[in-house]
């Protein structure tokens, strides 16, 4: 029982992070039908920028650690919003009317460029998160949970609620949903589709930045390649929920986190010790294959042909 609760907690933490990144994929896809493969790298930059700010401020300023963490997080969010905006402006907008393969290849290209830029700036070393947060452990139903895990889950849920309200209750959100349905029609309403597309990339970048910092703070060192696997996992989560669907990305992320966590937790028992928890990644991609084969529209995906 305690293993079950433990894996549930681990899965929720992992899943919250996946969900935040998956939202960036799904929102962009919803509007442009483009898979922004450089989004994982935006997340990586979020972690790197926050880390750089933290290290600089810890060394040179006498500010309280939590304030420094706040500044680092806000700095990373700001940077990634600009990065998301710049990506769209430089790499995707010129290809808006090109065949769909072109922006896809560009996205992969941007991903490689961003990785290499990060490598040039921060080198190939694994960079650890400084000890800012004193870890406290609590015990729930025989399982351990740390204050950091609680903060990650709560912050992710809070962000997702805010995003949901933004999309469904504000003027900008209405314009985003309208543009997702038909940019041409949205333009007839006086909406400038380019403004909405830029806003979408910026929101996605902000969510990615938060997720990157969480990964660095919770799972371990930041590295210039960290965005690749994170991006793939989050993309899987977005497909699992139904790409283009925002609620789907939230639940897809959480579900994928739980699947990985329970899979890794129980695979040892199930295979009699033949396979260990290092097979964790297998589950995500197994899920991706199953979804693509049996339900390509995802769990929350919309049926095709709704515009009849």
């Amino acid at each position: 029982m305690d293993i079950f609760v433990q894996q549930l907690i681990n899965g929720l933490v992992l899943g919250s992070i996946y969900a935040l990144i998956a939202l960036g994929y799904t929102m962009v896809y919803g509007i442009l039908e483009l898979i922004n493969f450089a989004h994982g790298e935006v997340t990586m930059f979020g972690a790197m920028i926050c880390l750089a700010i933290l290290n600089a401020l810890l060394l040179h300023s006498g500010l309280p650690p939590l304030l420094i963490l706040g500044i680092g997080l806000v700095g990373a969010i700001g940077f990634c919003m600009v990065l998301g905006y710049a990506l769209e402006r430089i790499a995707y907008r010129p290809l808006r009317h090109a065949p769909r393969l072109a922006p896809l290849i560009t996205a992969i290209g941007m991903s490689i460029v961003l990785q290499n830029v990060a490598m040039l700036i921060w080198g190939k070393k694994f960079l650890s998160f400084p000890d800012i947060i004193p870890i406290q452990r609590f015990t729930i139903a025989g399982a351990n949970i740390t204050n950091l895990q609680i903060v990650i889950i709560l912050l992710a849920i809070l962000i997702m609620i805010c995003l949901w309200l933004l999309i469904h209750r504000t003027r900008l959100g209405r314009a985003m949903r309208a543009t997702a349905q038909s940019p041409e029609l949205a333009s007839l309403m006086g909406i400038n589709p380019n403004t909405i597309i830029s806003a979408t990339f910026m929101i996605g970048g902000a969510l990615g930045a938060v997720a990157g910092v969480m990964v660095n703070a919770y799972y371990g060192p930041a590295h210039y390649t960290m965005g690749f696997m994170l991006g793939l996992k989050a993309f899987t989560a977005a497909v699992l929920g139904g790409i283009g669907n925002i609620t789907g990305a939230m639940f897809g992320g959480l579900l994928l986190g739980l699947i990985e966590s329970f899979g890794a937790g129980y695979i040892g028992q199930l295979t009699g010790g033949f396979m260990g928890s290092n097979y964790q990644h297998v589950f995500a991609f197994f899920v991706l294959i199953l979804i693509l084969v049996f339900r390509p529209s995802g769990l929350f995906g919309e049926r095709v042909g709704e515009r009849a």
Binding site: R174, R177, S182, E184, L185, S187, L188, M189, G190
Partner: protein, 234 residues
Amino acid sequence: MLQVENLSVAYGAVNAVKSIDLQIAAGELVCLIGANGAGKTTTLKTLGGMLKPQHGRIEYFDQSICGLPSHELLQRGIALVPEGRGIFSRLSVRENLQLGAYSRNDAAGITQDLEQMFTLFPRLAERAGQIAGTLSGGEQQMLAIARALMSRPKLLLLDEPSMGLAPVMVQKIFQTIRDIAAAGVTILLVEQNAKLALQISQRGYVMENGRITLTDAAPALLANPQVQHAYLGG
């Protein structure tokens, strides 16, 4: 108010509209009639900023608006109700109407106009919270017109509002168009149903193969044997 000179529009190699001239004065209700494929919708889409003209001049209040995108034209008071209704089917009726007022920022005025639309179209009030895709064809057309009115347009471009609607519904929609015109909105109406369109319009243009072949006061066009023969089933 609107002055179009020598306007040509092409889809790739196909010249859909060939150097047409068109004028609309403030407060007029003008219709553009013609057979399927004559270039009526292309003309309207170009005036609404959805298509870029090949050459020609479009002047609106003595300013060139040629080539401006739809969202900028809307801010200047030109609203287009597209063919086939073009509502946001996944959004609610209320949200569709709110989107119509996207370019405005007078919250009080928007609320007031929303209430006015609901009085004008009671069906929409009943279904305010419903997803717009579940409305009937006639209701969707009403929603599309009401949504355009939410932007408080000076010039309303209507593309085939009668398309695919039951006769009773068509009567209702045309009555609505007449009311809107009576309220002072200038209207350019594109219609295949030439008789109905001419009955409510002051002036009409007849379009054939991308050219304007005839223009006159609406009653004169209704009485014109050529028009009667070609478009009025006489």
